[in-house]
């Protein structure tokens, strides 16, 4: 039997040398280096038209006024000492329900880079990936660990929605006994889900309805999951739109418009998506036209996009057509379900208070760290603190809506099929 027990000297030297070079490369990099996109959009007090000629840049407007809420608790000295004793030498694990490299994984890693600096004791913060079952496995993993603040989970809104609608927790993961710490990002100001039509299809609601009549069928909109606006707009608001499944993300849906397979956009036509993925459409101005704003958020912060494209601000859905009382109430619920930034940071509710306070403060503080803000801006996301109360309120409002005459519509919006 031949067995390799010796490695030749030149080979050993080469291998070790390469490893050493790799180590030097990793260590020699500036650990505080910030990403180098050539047009980093630094936050500006007012949105400007462009930086480069004709190319819109996502310039985040000043943070919108923080919703009225209780003052952020500041750890009092004895709490700080408690926290220091607790977190010194420890590692906080942030469990992400997606594989490495996904959008939320990126957010978590960027946050992890800075979070430890704002927690007394400066614990190490690492990210663990546990994908599967649409974040449920991540939740179960986190819930199986002790309630000591050393495990935080990022959870998508679908889990909150589903538990709220069902009125009960899922196996091994209970969001009714959870503390939502909040989120490290806010919606890009001016980004509101707007129904947009391909340029050759329609320029406003009247022409869109006429086109559907002419074709004798609803207009095709790409979607990547059941539910959401693609489900309820045709079903409850008589908008002639047909959701076409099989798309795997916003980029593929936009490609569908490019390729002529899709005729309208229901979820993907937002300021941040278009400025990130289709600045040429904005520049051209006639590839797509916004028809109505169903999400209902203020579009003025995206004025740069509208100016460059030469578009009028589309009307809100309730201004574009007469709505019944049922439709009005459904619209309000759907807006609250669809409008909140996804993937809040969550811990178990029985975590000791001083730990909860500490983590809450730290998370909020990270969102004002210039390094973190720049890192997020480079990925065209807006750093900002979305308070945990918003998610708890969202959970409760969905549960209430799911109990009344809107129950089926809420289930449809959530994509729940019986």
């Amino acid at each position: 039997m031949q067995f390799i027990t010796k490695i030749s000297s030149p080979l050993k030297v080469m291998f070790l040398g390469t490893l050493f070079a790799l180590f030097l490369t990793a260590c020699g990099s500036d650990p505080t280096a910030t990403p180098r996109p050539t047009n980093t959009p630094a936050p500006e007090p007012t949105p400007t038209a462009t930086l480069a000629p004709g190319v819109p840049t996502p310039t985040p407007a000043p943070p919108t006024p923080t919703p009225t809420r209780a003052p952020t608790p500041t750890p009092v000295p004895d709490l700080k000492e408690l926290a220091r004793d607790h977190f010194t030498g420890k590692t906080i694990t942030v469990v992400v329900g997606y594989g490495a490299g996904g959008g939320q994984d990126n957010n978590a890693r960027k946050t992890a880079k800075y979070l430890g600096n704002y927690i007394p004791g400066n614990p190490r913060v690492i990210v663990q990936n546990k994908d599967g079952a649409d974040n449920l496995l991540a939740g179960q993993t986190a819930w199986a660990r002790p309630s000591n603040g050393l495990t935080i989970v990022l959870i998508n809104n679908v889990r909150t929605q589903n538990q709220a609608i069902a009125g009960r927790p899922e196996t091994g993961f209970n969001l009714f006994e959870a503390t939502y710490l909040g989120n490290v990002q806010i919606s890009t100001p001016g980004s509101s889900a707007t129904l947009c039509a391909r340029g050759d299809i329609a320029t406003d609601l009247a022409s869109m309805l006429a086109k559907a009549d002419e074709l004798g069928r609803p207009l095709r909109a790409g979607v990547f999951r059941a539910g959401s606006w693609g489900e309820i707009l045709p079903k409850y608001f008589d908008i002639p739109v047909k959701p076409v499944p099989g798309f795997t993300g916003t980029a593929t849906i936009l490609q569908g418009i490019d390729q002529g397979e899709l005729e309208v956009l229901v979820d993907a036509c937002t300021y941040d998506q278009l400025s990130r993925l289709r600045p040429d459409w904005i520049e051209a101005g006639d590839t797509i036209y916004p028809i109505f704003n169903h999400q209902g958020k203020d579009l003025k912060p995206a004025s740069s996009m509208y100016e460059i494209a030469g578009w009028d601000y589309p009307p809100n859905l309730e201004d574009a057509m007469d709505l019944t009382d049922f439709q009005t109430r459904l619209l309000a619920v759907a807006r609250s379900m669809g409008g909140i930034v996804t993937h809040p940071w969550v811990i178990k509710a029985d975590t000791p208070d001083f730990i909860q306070q500490t983590l809450l403060s730290a998370l909020e503080a990270v969102t004002t760290d210039p390094g973190f803000v720049a890192d997020m801006a480079a990925a065209t996301r807006v750093a900002g603190f979305t308070p945990g109360e918003e998610y708890a309120n969202y959970r409760d409002s969905v549960a209430d809506a799911a109990a009344g005459d809107l129950a089926q519509a809420v289930r449809d919006f959530a994509g729940i099929v019986d």
């Binding site: 790799l22 910030t34 180098r36 990126n106 890693r109 994908d131 449920l136 076409v244």
Partner: protein, 526 residues
């Protein structure tokens, strides 16, 4: 930034010794990743962890250095062990492994390295040439083309089933059935998932299926047959073969230039079509080689060098070409590219039209890094081959447990669950049975990969076109259909010719003793 300016900027980045070190260091890590069976992703995941702390240019160089040689070094376990080094090196096993058993591992490896190098270099150059117009190129392929490509997989299945076409098609359908476990891609409804097994909501992972169907049965074979991999030659002859065989293998690549060109072209086209992926391109090219090369019907599967050249030319080309839709449109070309997409986002680059406008210099940095890493990786592999080839002589009771351990760890890390291991056992039972009872295994993998693609694009086509005639008479669809029909027709013609010569072989075989290792005589059964 103009193209020339961008190219000069990319070159000036390459003048930085730290960048060169990053590429070479990454290449070493990539070589190791590819050489260990079924462990392609860990390197890039560690890099993602490091990325927030690194200079973006160095990080990109390191990542591309790691990415490039994986598709070359993954040939090592495929040829030497019969275990796929990654999901895109399965087809290499069919002819590469028999070559190793015949003591011709050096020839197989030499051919694979040069073929991979050509594929990688061509695709890297193509990135530079195509990227400015990438969106137009990628947009040529819409839903009907993807559906047709998936259906073309049926042609591939028929070809790689050999003389057991019905069994092969059934295996492919079984693969599609396994792939349907999980959630409905449109509705998110659980499908064939018991309440007590939420693990299955994510479906079966490709790595579990590949390890269970291909890798573990080969390891079992070593123990059951109680022999080392190379049985036909002595260790001394094998070492001599490595030294001479490497060059002979490379000469074989030059002799089969047109096969290389066809395979690279197919690899690039598949790479540009996001989602089809590297896990079927090797079978597609293997099938086209089998269908179009003279004498391939008899010799493929017994150690024909062309059965190594074809998939190896294509898989490097595909993995580089997949960067085109990833960077130009933000649509990942495959599973690895999805991770790379996240990696670029983490560095602060926004793949998509913005990337081409603002970071064209990074595109050229990627191209130059891929070129350097491919060349460096090939040189390293050529140098190391003679050491790796000794693996073929290690006792099965030393090799098998080590490989088995690596595979169990790799399988577990797919979803970090005991269910990974449990289902691995079940899938390996199926793999063992198929190997034992003469069911072709490649069709199962093809069905597993193409099934969801078929489902997804069927939904899109039915939803996006009023008239299927309009969908399938698009020029790109017609071209793909025409190529598929041509392959099918040519393959049938060659099969008819081979039946005639097989009839003569039957008479010769009847005079001799039957040998399981020798190809059985095609008898028209399926």
């Amino acid at each position: 930034m103009g193209v020339i300016e961008a190219a000069m900027a990319g070159l000036s980045d390459m003048a930085n010794p730290v960048v060169i070190l990053a590429i070479l260091g990454g290449a070493v890590v990539g070589l190791a990743s590819g050489a260990l069976p079924a462990t392609g992703l860990p390197g890039i995941i560690v890099l993602i962890s490091l990325a927030v702390y690194m200079d973006p240019v160095v990080a990109v160089a390191l990542a591309m250095g790691m990415a490039a040689p994986v598709q070359s070094s993954d040939t090592l376990p495929s040829v030497l062990l019969g275990v796929p080094g990654s999901v895109s090196s399965q087809a290499t096993i069919i002819d590469g492994y028999p070559m190793a058993r015949q003591g011709r591992a050096g020839e197989a490896l030499g051919a694979a390295y040069l073929a991979s190098l050509i594929g990688g270099v061509v695709a890297a150059v193509l990135i530079a040439l195509v990227m400015p117009m990438a969106r137009g190129v990628v947009n040529l392929f819409a839903s009907p083309e993807f559906l047709v490509m998936a259906l073309m997989g049926v042609v591939v299945v028929a070809v790689v089933s050999g003389g057991a076409m019905l069994k092969g098609l059934m295996a492919a359908t079984l693969g599609m059935a396994i792939a349907s476990v999980g959630t409905d891609p449109g509705l998110g409804l659980p499908r064939f998932v018991p309440d007590s097994v939420p693990y299955l909501l994510g479906g079966f992972n490709l790595i579990i299926v590949v390890i269970g169907i291909f890798a573990l049965p080969e390891i079992m074979g070593l123990i059951i047959e109680n022999r080392s991999i190379a049985t036909d030659v002595s260790a001394e002859d094998a070492v001599r073969d490595i030294n001479e065989g490497r060059w002979e293998g490379m000469r074989s690549v030059m002799r089969n230039k047109f096969l290389v060109v066809r395979s690279v072209a197919l690899g690039v086209i598949v790479g540009i079509m996001p989602g089809i992926g590297g896990s079927v391109v090797d079978w597609l090219t293997y099938a086209q080689a089998r269908a179009t090369e003279k004498g391939a019907a008899e010799s493929f599967g017994t150690g024909d060098i062309r059965g190594v050249i074809a998939p190896e030319s294509a898989n490097n080309a595909t993995s580089a070409a997949q960067l085109i839709p990833t960077l130009a449109l933000g649509i990942p070309g495959g599973a690895y590219q999805a991770v790379y997409l996240g990696f670029f986002l983490l560095l602060g680059f926004q793949p998509g039209p913005r990337f081409l406008n603002d970071n064209m210099d990074i595109v050229f940095l990627i191209v130059f890094s891929l070129l350097l890493a491919n060349v460096f990786g090939t040189i390293m592999l050529l140098f190391l081959s003679k050491y790796f080839a000794k693996i073929a002589f290690i006792s099965p009771h030393v090799l098998a447990p080590v490989i088995l351990s690596i595979l169990l760890v790799a399988a577990f890390t797919s979803k970090n669950s005991y269910w990974d291991l449990g289902f691995l056992m079940i899938v390996s039972l199926v793999g063992w049975h198929m190997k034992r009872y003469g069911w072709p295994r490649p069709p199962l993998i093809i069905g597993f990969v193409l099934g969801p693609i078929l489902e997804r694009y069927l939904s899109r086509v039915l939803g996006s076109y009023d008239n299927l005639f309009d969908a399938f008479t698009r020029p790109p669809s017609l071209i793909i259909v025409a190529v598929a029909l041509a392959i099918a027709f040519y393959s049938a013609k060659l099969a008819r010719e081979s039946k005639t010569s097989a009839a003569l072989l039957v008479k010769k075989a009847e005079a001799g003793v039957a040998d399981d290792a020798a190809p059985r005589v095609p008898a028209g059964g399926a």
